[in-house]
Amino acid sequence: MGTFTAATAPRVNYINAEYGIKSWLLTKDHKRIALLYLGSISFFFFIGSLYAIAIRLELLTPQADLVQSSTYNKMFTQHGIIMVFFFLIPSIPATLGNFLVPMMIGAKDLAFPRLNLLSWYIYLAGGLITIYALLAGGVDTGWTFYTPYSTTFSNSYVVATGLGIFINGFSSILTGLNFIVTIHTMRAPGMKWFRLPLFIWSHYATSLVMVLGTPVIAITILLLAFERVAHVGIFDPALGGDPVLFQHLFWFYSHPAVYIMVLPSMGVVSEIIANFSRKNIFGYKFVAFSSLAIAVFGFLVWGHHLFVASQSVYAGMIFSFLSFAVAIPSAIKVFNWTATLYRGSISYDTPMLYALGFIGLFTVGGMTGLFLATLAVDVHVSDTYFIVAHFHFIMVGGALFGYLGGLHYWWPKISGRMYPEGWGRFSALVVFVGFNLTFLPQFVLGYLGMPRRYHVYPPEFQVLHVLSTAGASILGVGLLIPLFYLIWTLRYGPIAAANPWHLPGLEWRTSSPPPTENFETTPIVTWEAYEFAPIEEMKVIGKFRPEVDSVS
């Protein structure tokens, strides 16, 4: 990194424009709201991780030693609920998306700044109610809330937790709505649809799923609460209902929700792969439209969660076919990312390491998804650790890796400070190794027949569980390192240039951190996405100072 000259006078930016707690809690600036989200989802990620640690420790031995079964059941339930609804679903859209969607299209803010702030308060309300439910006694149904256990048999705080998730859903809907309207109406002059960065395309696709899918989970939770509180017969056969109906409704949202988690991450990876190999993305339109294809097909595959749930074999056949169909657009993305690297100028900076890690892990996650779409194999591995391993490859290897890569990539823009590159690379490596050691053994465990959600298990499975727990401790350390150094950079990190990576995207054509209105003048876009300009031109457009901002 070279030396850095201190700015002569502190420039006004979105962080120092106003001071005081009120200026944050009542802000309508999408960048400040993104930071509010960043703080709150980090908090929930931390809580969810504590549960993960406790689960992995308990599973070190086949017997029950740390906690009782009822406690263990609450731990995996709450781990799932917090990670899925309060970390993974909002993670990239609400933080990076919130920060970058307006900046990347050359807008001053989102279309509805007040709704944006409201969505954070709704998220907070949902989160606090859920935390209350956990403190009051917790919930033990599994994050899937299967009936009739959740409606008739469980003695835990099902309705309170459901209320938290129900409320939280509205923040998702508002964010999605805001993005759709913003992308349609607020693009800068010259920012045509096919000049949009792929991050925007993937957020557009994600927003469609958020707006169309989330109401279904809201209705489902409402019906569940009706049955539990008022004994209205919907799901319990003793009351005239059908328990499998709940599974259809639940997965009609919760399968597309997987795409809410992973599509934004794919957008981040598209940005990083193109920009850190300094090339336009290979097959731009195919990558863009594959996001939309995933969003649409994602609504048609929920039945693959019910292959062993006594649905008709013919229904199983159709859902199997559709599940294979949804794999193709994901495969197209992986091939195009790989092809983008061909004859590129590839740097090994931390964001790129995370993006490359994403491609590898997402490939494994996707490939093992093919096992689950294959009916006969799914019958054997369904509800085993094979499933646990598969979806952690998608959610951690996919969504979390994209999130961490994106956080490092845009950290200079967000905070105005550089993160320590050496520590960044080191932690990316530790996270990658720890992750694989945690979840690869679980594929083997699953095929051997170890069911998920088991507190005690037959002793022959112990070796693989020990490996998994060892990996989890490495993963945990790997995740703590960025937590420390990112906070450290806020005060001590080197001042970041406007465009430290020398990239053409609009978000890099304004200062770091950006002013409240993002751009001093409305930009006019005359270039295609990922169109790299020679260094002389960069000096003009990015306020690039080669003598100060050296390149790694």
Binding site: S69, N73, Y146, T152, F153, P237, A238, P243, V244, R278, K279, F282, G283, F286, F307, S310, Q311, V313, S320, F324, I328, A331, I332, F335, N336, T338, A339, L341, Y342, R343, S345, I346, I359, G360, T363, M367, T368, L370, A373, T374, L375, A376, V377, D383, T384, V444, Y447, L448, G449, P451, R453, Y454, V456, P458, E460, V463, H502, E531, F532, P534
Partner: protein
């Protein structure tokens, strides 16, 4: 007995080899492509690493030919998974015509089994090697799932209906039996053992436990004690209610003109929710027995009705089996 880290569970049924073959095919194809993609990725990352700070590589827009190629090839490979997987799935879930029947009741947190000859067991299931075994399963409370890894079979047991699965063991031995659907506090304690025995040993085991009443004769007693006989006739020959002799597995005409197959699920539903499907020519006079009979008693009654014979010439034992999963 087992290697330090086994990669495959024991294979002990006629289906397990078929599932494993498919699993090997999937593993081979996916490992190959995963290594290929990561190999190319790593190769590119090393070969095209940044050499000078501000170099700008020549842009490459893309290639329709390549896009088509790498859409169609994965699709065709996926279709081979689809076709093969579906064939084995149908074999897993379509009930064979012949074979011995075992009634299974799951309840928090135990598995109860009753053989058609009357023997009952809890968390242990004795079966003979080389014979098809059909499991007719119900639950007293929440959803459970009977999973036998060594046989590669698994099926949810859903409240309010019967679900079915079958296996034919190929090796004697003791195998794990798990509940695979989260069912509450002691979910991980809802486990048991399948004991596969030589047929002669199995016969000995059966006769050693023969003092128990058979399911159908227990059902016959219930038929009398619950007052079914007052409408259906002392020998189920019919009266104010329809005759039950020879009903099982036949076509039954309902009063709305619909013709349905009188399988186990229909018999069960006719006891718990008699108003749902009324036989043509009869009035809606039967009260519901929902909540008055345990799942075991329902199974005994079902077994009794089945013992009254089928109205198909071929008899129940060889009646063509429909798709396994009961549909409404």
């Amino acid at each position: 007995m087992q290697s330090w880290i086994p990669f495959l569970p024991e294979s002990a049924s006629t289906l397990s080899g078929r599932v494993d073959a498919l699993y090997f095919y999937l593993s081979g194809v996916t490992v190959f492509f995963t290594l290929l993609i990561s190999g190319v990725l790593i190769f590119f990352v090393i070969k095209y690493r940044r050499r000078t700070p501000f170099e700008i590589p020549r842009p490459i827009a893309g290639s329709h030919k390549l896009e088509t190629l790498w859409s169609i090839i994965p699709f065709l490979i996926a279709m081979s998974f689809f076709v093969w997987g579906t064939r084995v799935y149908f074999a897993q879930y379509r009930m064979p015509a012949d074979g011995i029947e075992v009634y299974v009741v799951g309840k928090q947190w135990m598995w109860k089994f009753q053989h058609s000859t009357g023997q009952r067991e809890i968390n242990e299931l004795h079966v003979p090697v080389g014979r098809k075994v059909k499991l007719i399963m119900a639950t007293e409370d929440v959803i459970h799932d009977l999973f036998i890894p060594a046989f590669r079979i698994k099926a949810d047991v859903v409240p309010g209906k019967y679900s079915t699965q079958w296996f034919e063991a190929t090796q004697t031995g003791r195998y794990h039996l798990f509940c695979a659907e989260f069912c509450g506090m002691n979910h991980s304690g809802m486990v048991g053992t399948v004991v596969v025995m030589e047929p002669t040993d199995f016969d000995n085991w059966l006769s050693g436990n023969a003092n128990q009443q058979s399911a159908s004769s227990a059902g016959q007693q219930l038929f009398q004690s619950m007052g079914c006989a007052s409408c259906h006739g002392a020998n189920a020959e019919g009266g104010r209610g329809p005759a039950l002799q020879g009903v099982f597995n036949g076509q039954t005409q309902l009063n709305n003109g619909q013709v349905i197959k009188a399988d186990e699920n229909y018999i069960r539903e006719s006891i718990t929710n008699p108003q749902g499907k009324i036989v043509s020519g009869f009035g809606p006079i039967m009260p519901s027995f929902q909540g008055q009979l345990t799942e075991e008693q329902l199974m005994q009654l079902t077994s009794y009705v089945k013992s009254l014979g089928s109205n198909q010439a071929t008899g129940p034992a060889t009646a063509p089996a429909p798709a396994a999963t009961p549909r409404r």
